[in-house]
Symmetry: C2
Subunit: 336 residues, 2 copies
DNA sequence: GAGCTTTTTGCAAACGTTTGCTACGCTGCG
DNA sequence: CGCAGCGTAGCAAACGTTTGCAAAAAGCTC
């Protein structure tokens, strides 16, 4: 139904090899011939078959993007950066939501392998991607974004989580708070250890005790933050300030605090992590550590396409970039 | 480098046709043979080449998703619904951000055609998709989501915009407001006409005059809302309430009002459209008309895959679903 | 105008599948 | 024992390109 190169060849009375060369601006076809062929192609509204091309060239100009959930406000900007970067260089991107499930991550890996994507950028939730290395996905370039499996040999672009957490916690301490809690997601995040680490480092550095009572883990949802703080308040023993592993949790904490009739930051101060779009909203003014989401996505895809382009064997070529976090002080952490 | 069907055939001492049939559970291969072949395939960690398959079967099990901007909080949920629906039926989806630009929309159309996607779901910004029908994209199934070109013959799933706007405006009137403004995006939205229509209908129905002074168009950005309302306030002539074409604009209006030292809803009430995730946030409590984003995405992709599956010629088979909007009354529209 | 170079074109193989058709070997029946 | 019928398996074409190589045509030089 769609016109093919052969149809054009017939009309133009040349071999289809010539048509191919003409259309691809390859060296070796007379300008007039080229023009004539192009014109015919246009008239027949020819659309090159990327599938056939992909088969012979063994590349699809396509990459896969595997993230937990595009609906989580952290990811759209990352995705956008990736898509923009890919698009600029002629690549298309498959969007894959794992919904924080290992099984789905694995499944997508397989699917994308069958689709013969040229590369993958992954915001991993665990080590599965790395684990399947050496099998069929072993040969396809992967770069991690947002966080990376510990000790991976692949490229990645992440933020310095322990430093970010350190900055956040130190800020709280320096603002005069002493009993500082940590609320995190027990699952769905490779970064929790690092962020808790930074939190503890800051505490110790300032000579404060790390109290397990104020360290709570839940799920990676906004409700977690609310539930956890509410629980503490009801028990009558709650921190003056909390550092939440991410902004969604932090927002939850704020809701929880207010739901109990207390106020932020008067009764409990809070700082988050990520700087999702609404953190800066007038009514919220959440102090948080910023991740340059768009930028991270864009540079990640840049690394990936470089690896793809160079055809360089992945090993040894890995570029692991860790960005410096920036603390954005807004209102939820300012003492009365 | 990747094992092919022929490699397996060699190892199994059968023809590669047999391997194909064995792996695809096709009729006509002895169970033991099938098992043996499968085992060998597994050992060689064979991954079927979807490109080659796509070439012969003339379908890629792939669809394109064209939206303006995944970063706009309206779209992630739609996208998620689409991806979920696609994934359930074995399809992958290309994410394409047009950035509200016609040219990019057109460009993606072409690209996706070359990639031979089996179908497209598009949140259109104008009529270009429909316009290019009849050319190469004419034959590929398209369903619109969120809004659709007027008079299109294709399938779509949208919300009843005029009714939604009517509901919103009427609610404002019934709450006692009289001077009600409309703020919209002049570009980047097919739905603006409909929403303004609903707004006017409500006004007239209640015997209120439509004052052009209170109807302002800007860009599709949050800042627009703020700037517009600020301008009116500075001029000393501003509405008691405003209906914003979407939540982002509405949020902007709120910021603008507060930035001028006034309060919402005391000095100016506001209602939005879309019910983006943060509209319901404690600190915001934006009254708005809800679009069931996830659901819209999921049903849109359902329609698309039905069309694809049936191989039915698109014409005549179009299913155009328009959803009933629901007004969610929160705090930004409640008089003192 | 012969020989040589350079440009333009065509041939055909390859990419990795799916699938219609044919061929082979059995089984069972008459 | 001959043959129909069936269950398995193989052959080869097709899908629509790209590209190395060879052939043809054209342009130069002397």
């Amino acid at each position: 139904m769609n016109a093919t190169i052969k149809d054009i060849a017939k009309r133009a009375r040349v071999s289809y090899a010539t048509v191919s060369r003409a259309l691809n601006n390859k060296y070796g076809v007379r300008p007039e011939t080229r023009a004539r062929i192009r014109e015919i192609a246009r008239k027949m509204s020819y659309s090159p078959n990327g599938i056939a091309r992909g088969l012979v060239k063994r590349q699809t100009r396509t990459i896969g993007l595997i993230i937990p959930d595009i609906t989580n406000p952290f990811f759209p900007e990352v995705a956008r950066g990736i898509e923009d970067g890919a698009q600029e260089r002629g690549y298309s991107v498959f969007l894959c939501n794992t919904n924080w499930e290992d099984a789905r991550e694995r499944q997508y890996l397989e699917l994308l392998a069958e689709k013969r994507v040229d590369g993958l950028v992954v915001a991993p939730i665990s080590n599965v991607v790395d684990a399947v290395r050496g099998r069929q996905y072993g040969s396809i370039p992967v770069v991690y974004v947002s966080n990376a499996p510990q000790g991976t040999a692949r490229s990645f672009v992440v933020i310095d989580n322990v430093r970010g957490a350190y900055l956040a916690t130190r800020h709280l301490i320096d603002s005069g708070y002493r009993r500082i809690g940590f609320i995190g997601a027990v699952e769905g995040s490779l970064s929790i250890d690092e962020r808790m680490e930074g939190y503890k480092v800051a505490l110790r550095e300032r000579g404060l005790a790390v109290s397990e009572r104020y360290i709570k883990l839940g799920h990676f949802r906004q409700e977690t933050g609310a539930a956890v703080i509410r629980g503490m308040i009801e028990e009558g023993d709650y921190p003056e300030a909390v550092f939440a592993e991410n902004d969604l949790l932090a927002l939850g904490v704020i809701q929880g605090v207010q739901g109990m009739g207390l106020a932020v930051p008067r009764d409990v101060a809070v700082v988050g992590f990520d700087d999702i779009p609404f953190a800066g909203f007038q009514e919220v003014q959440l102090t948080t550590v910023c991740q340059p989401k768009y930028h991270m996505g864009k540079t990640a895809v840049g690394l990936l396409l470089d690896e793809i382009g160079s055809g360089r064997p992945r090993s040894g070529a890995a570029r692991q970039v860790v960005l410096e976090p920036e603390l954005i002080v807004r209102k939820t952490s300012l003492p009365g």
